[in-house]
């Protein structure tokens, strides 16, 4: 990708070397079903399928297959099966096939192995070791089909108390014109509260930038966020003008590259998020190669067409926590203190102390992205080896902020591999205010986790750079899938909440009593702040 000897696609110095790797996937075509229609040829963006004129037959070059299943899904006769290549080396617990394959790739190209999506290594997924509570006898469970069940969530700082003196002035300001019997007479007006986002479900769409994802994909995410009463994040690639109509449901990012940031960008959004780090690649920056920076992307990012879009690893105006405070308040000044300001960090070892610093630096929301968080492109070695799981990070941060009595000052949003509504509700019980989903939203739109986002060839049109490929994603239909997903998860969350005898999500927030661990070590339960099952 542009830079010689940096990325795996780079030309090696002595020209292409013969690949020593066998195909990862086998493409099997059932000759009885195949009608030679050629749909697979047009659907495959990686050039697997081709028409052999001599044999008058569709054939497959399976070493190119990435396992995205686009052809199999769209084959009208169901003639295609994609399987992992069962061909095996001699078993070796240390030199596992993945290491061998990466070694050979690097020997051929001399580059950093790139990948997309989130960490796929079998690190312990703590969600799978936490079980939820339910009511039996001593209190009744609540049926969400018959009783109200509230998921409404606010993101933003909360004052420690309603200020009675402010309330008196609110009263003087004409509040008395509503002599409603029993109305709380003494109260701050809502304008006196710090700005906040109001979510109707605790699920938001993660930061995914235009450029990393297609215009159509971003449009679908924004549409869905609006329809679901929640928010989608622009990512760091600017905010295309045609998508500004969703401003009430859009969070904009200010990242180290500052792409597309101007006063309008900040003021039109619902919230501004400073991106410090990303779970898939903590500590490193980003690089959108020049060939992907076509005119619309260049315009949106405010850079010349065809130039590499480089996001530095750190913000070069933030070398310390007080620098972060300066940026937070610069953004608050720029937005007239009308928007909450979030800071997103990757979950790393000292995340509790970092989060405490961010809260004290004046952020209204802290977003934490765990080690399983996705990406459009990251060095595989970073994605798979840097960071900590979001479950442990969340538990540690929530505890630290409570111990320091500053938990009210910030809302916590967590991200990084939420696969189901159960993961979401467990995160709420551990102390999160809301979650960001990225990969799950992708899968809803068609993604099959082939991890080739960085190639720009996404056959499903989600991360495609090629306009022809991007057009495969019908934004309205993709939005419908996303809306369905959020509704389904919300309904499931309501069912689980009701089962616990709780009818407002806020009463589960940080309520670790409703979680029990199975199969965890004592230290893990200590960090998570949960008891073992049966305890």
């Amino acid at each position: 990708m542009g830079q010689a000897r940096t990325h795996i696609e780079a030309q090696a110095v002595f020209g292409p070397l013969k690949p020593y790797l066998e195909p990862e996937f086998l493409v099997e075509r059932d000759p009885d079903r195949c009608i030679q229609c050629g749909v697979c040829i047009s659907q495959c963006s990686f050039g697997v399928h081709w028409f052999d004129v001599r044999r008058s037959q569709v054939r497959a070059e399976q070493e190119r297959c990435v396992g995205c299943h686009r052809c199999a899904v769209f084959c009208p006769t169901g003639a295609l099966t994609i399987r992992r290549n069962p061909s095996e080396y001699r078993p070796n617990a240390n030199w596992r096939p993945e290491f061998v394959a990466d070694l050979k790739r690097q020997a051929e190209t001399g580059g950093v192995v790139l990948t997309g999506m989130g960490n796929d290594k079998p690190f312990r997924v703590y969600w799978d070791h936490l079980l939820l509570n339910a009511s039996q006898v001593t209190n009744p469970s609540i049926d969400p089909l018959r009783e109200p069940m509230e998921l409404r969530t606010f993101l933003g700082a909360r004052p420690d108390q309603v200020n009675p003196s402010a309330s008196t002035s609110a009263l003087a300001d004409g509040a008395t014109s509503h002599p409603v019997e029993g109305l709380p007479a003494a109260m701050v007006s809502v304008e006196d509260l710090p700005p906040a986002l109001q979510l109707e479900t605790p699920i938001m769409f993660s930061a995914m930038s235009y450029g990393a994802i297609s215009f159509q994909a971003q449009l679908a995410l924004f549409e869905a966020a609006q329809a679901c009463g929640t928010y989608a994040n622009t990512g760091e690639g600017g905010w295309p003008r045609p998508l500004r109509r969703f401003h009430d449901h859009v969070i904009v990012q200010v990242a180290s590259g500052r792409f597309g940031v101007d006063a309008d960008y900040l003021n039109e959004a619902a919230m501004v998020e400073i991106k410090i780090g990303q779970g898939a690649k903590p500590g490193i920056g980003g690089h959108l190669p020049g060939e992907k920076v076509k005119a619309p992307i260049a315009r949106t990012r405010m850079i010349p067409e065809g130039t590499d879009a480089l996001s530095p690893a750190p913000h070069h105006d933030i070398y310390s926590i007080e620098d972060l405070a300066l940026l937070i308040y610069a953004l608050k000044e720029a937005t007239h203190y009308e928007k909450p300001v979030a800071v997103k960090v990757a979950a790393v070892h000292n995340v509790a102390a970092i989060a405490s610093g961010i809260a004290r630096a004046g952020a209204d929301v802290i977003a934490i992205d765990g080690v399983r968080g996705g990406t459009g492109a990251a060095p595989k070695i970073i994605r798979d080896n840097v960071g900590i799981p979001i479950e442990l990070a969340l538990a540690a941060v929530d505890r630290r902020l409570r111990e320091e009595k500053i938990r009210n000052r910030v809302s916590l949003v967590v991200a990084g591999g939420f696969r189901s509504s159960a993961d979401v509700i467990k995160a709420i019980a551990l102390g999160a205010d809301a979650v960001y989903i990225g990969t799950a939203a992708f899968v809803a739109m068609g993604c099959t986790l082939c991890q080739k986002c960085y190639t720009g060839k996404c056959a499903w049109g989600i991360t495609a750079a090629d306009p022809a490929l991007a057009r495969r994603l019908n934004p309205d239909l993709a939005a419908e899938r996303l809306i369905n997903l959020v509704h389904a998860w919300s309904a499931e969350i309501k069912e689980m909440l009701g089962g616990m005898g709780i009818n407002a999500l806020e009463s589960l927030r940080g309520n670790r009593d409703h979680l029990r661990a199975v199969g965890l070590e004592q230290w893990e339960m200590d960090v998570l702040g949960v008891k073992g099952a049966g305890q």
Binding site: T138, N139, R158, D160, V162, S189, V190, G501, D513
Partner: protein, 471 residues
């Protein structure tokens, strides 16, 4: 007793919290006329089957008129050595005006009362400048964030609930709002200190002109044991307990008390973990691991420290649904939104009915979807709340009004005069108030008095339904 001992007694199996269900009763005579304690005993006897004999208790207010200005301390003691330790401690901060065993009858054959500990009461005058104990986490927390300058000016406003000023030198009636904030914090501190640090001592109550009587046994037997028929108070609450996961110990019975707050409670708070963690940030540590403790702390935080009115507190503890809030006119909607946003973690979720009392005021409150029984009634100056109408009818067969409050709608009974601003102490929680004093409904703004019920609330809850707005 030590904290570990406390926990061990209260929650022997280390469950998330002690779980119990119960029968409740409460009565207040708004005119200040004092009622014999027998009324509470008889009412609770009629709720016998809602408990299982593992806990019963009562709180009486206005029961010590002749000692109204002294701090009445009720304690349970394991032995005489514990008493010596306690008295040594007391003498450091207080002048002991009177110390005596709490009068009681011998346990009759067939009584459910189990193994009473030593039960003593002290009437205390604080020595000037009662000291804050820096070692106590609770005290430190309470000290932090308290707006020290707020004391004298609040309480004069309508709608703030309590009509007391503070620090104004008026007669002592023992209302929580009347305690000097710093002194109140010190007193809380002091009680926590005794409970945690003195082996074999546990405080039932520690406030002016009120007392908690509780123990292991059916409530009617406990009342009999404590000779409640020898007392008279303008307000009584009672409780019969059905615990499922705690051993019987006298300290674990209800009412739970903090300053002059007492709480009797029937329910299980599913939001306990959320509530507890929130309160910890304000310096309240839930050592007893009960729902009841959480409710008392929440009431103290909202109404004493943050000066919310009873209605506002109710709107926090049993908040209206967003669906209802969204339908309100802008001002009302904004105010409720503020309350729910700021105090979201104090929403009590799960089934409960609770009677929260403090000097001069009785608050009944049910959860917002009304999952536990709760009945209110009025007869003349008396307001009753109970788990079942039967408990009320047995002591007052002729009632003016009986109603079932809506979920989240507080039922408030308040001494006449208490709600009037600028009449500090005039109430005299003692019998001093003339029966002839105006008995019109105090402006409790909610269902305090049945007169307005039910015509005033055709739908929605009192106080913020659209009808009221339109009217």
């Amino acid at each position: 007793m030590t904290l570990d001992e406390l926990r061990q007694r209260q929650n022997p199996y280390g469950d998330d919290k002690a779980i119990d269900a119960c029968g409740l009763f409460g009565v207040i005579d708004r005119s200040g006329r004092r009622l014999n304690g027998q009324i509470a005993i008889e009412a609770m006897a009629n709720l016998h089957d809602r408990g299982n004999g593992l806990g019963g208790g009562f709180a009486g207010y206005g029961i010590y008129p002749e000692m109204a200005d002294a701090i009445a301390l009720h304690v349970m003691l394991d032995d005489q050595a514990s008493r010596a330790r306690l008295e040594e401690e007391l003498q450091q901060d207080f002048h002991i005006r009177l110390a005596e065993e709490i009068p009681h009858r011998p346990v009759a054959a067939g009584s459910s009362v189990q193994a009473p500990p030593l039960l003593w009461r002290y009437f205390l005058d604080p020595q000037p400048g009662i000291s804050r104990r820096p070692g106590q986490r609770v005290g430190q927390g309470l000290g932090q964030g308290y707006d020290q300058g707020r004391g004298p000016e609040h309480g004069s406003g309508e709608g703030r609930g309590h009509g007391f000023g503070s620090g104004d030198g008026g007669p002592v009636v023992g209302a929580s709002a009347e305690y000097d904030p710093e002194f109140a914090d010190s007193l809380v501190d002091f009680v926590m200190h005794i409970n945690r640090d003195l082996p074999g001592v546990y405080v039932f109550s520690c406030a002016r002109n009120m007392g908690v009587f509780k123990g292991v046994g059916y409530p009617e037997d406990i009342g009999e044991f404590f000779r409640l028929d020898d007392y008279a108070g303008y307000m009584w609450t009672g409780h019969g307990r059905f615990p499922t996961n705690t051993h019987a110990w006298w300290g674990g019975a209800h009412p739970f008390s903090l300053l002059d707050w007492t709480v009797v409670h029937n329910g299980e708070i599913s939001s306990y973990g959320t509530n507890r963690r929130f309160l910890e940030m304000y310096g309240y540590y839930c050592t007893l691991q009960t729902d009841t403790e959480v409710i008392a702390y929440a009431a103290d935080l909202l109404m004493r420290r943050h000066h919310l009115s009873v209605n506002e507190a109710a709107l926090v503890l049993a908040a209206p649904m967003w669906k209802e809030i969204d339908r309100l006119p802008a001002t009302a909607r904004q105010r409720l939104t503020v309350l729910r946003r700021v105090y979201a973690p104090l929403l009590l979720n799960g089934p409960f009915t609770v009677i929260i009392a403090r000097s001069g005021e009785l608050i009944g409150l049910g959860d917002r979807v009304r999952l536990r029984p709760f009945v209110a009634a009025s007869a003349g100056d008396r307001l009753y709340v109970a788990s079942e109408e039967a408990a009320i009818r047995v002591v007052e067969p002729q009632l003016d009004q009986v109603w079932i409050p809506r979920g989240g709608e507080p039922v408030v009974g308040r001494l006449d005069g208490l709600a009037q601003a600028g009449v500090p102490g005039a109430v005299a929680a003692s019998a001093a108030v003339a029966r002839a004093q105006a008995t019109t409904a105090t402006t409790t703004t909610t269902a305090a008095c049945a007169a307005a019920w039910p015509a005033a609330r055709p739908s929605g809850r009192a106080g913020w339904g659209e009808q009221e707005v339109a009217g």
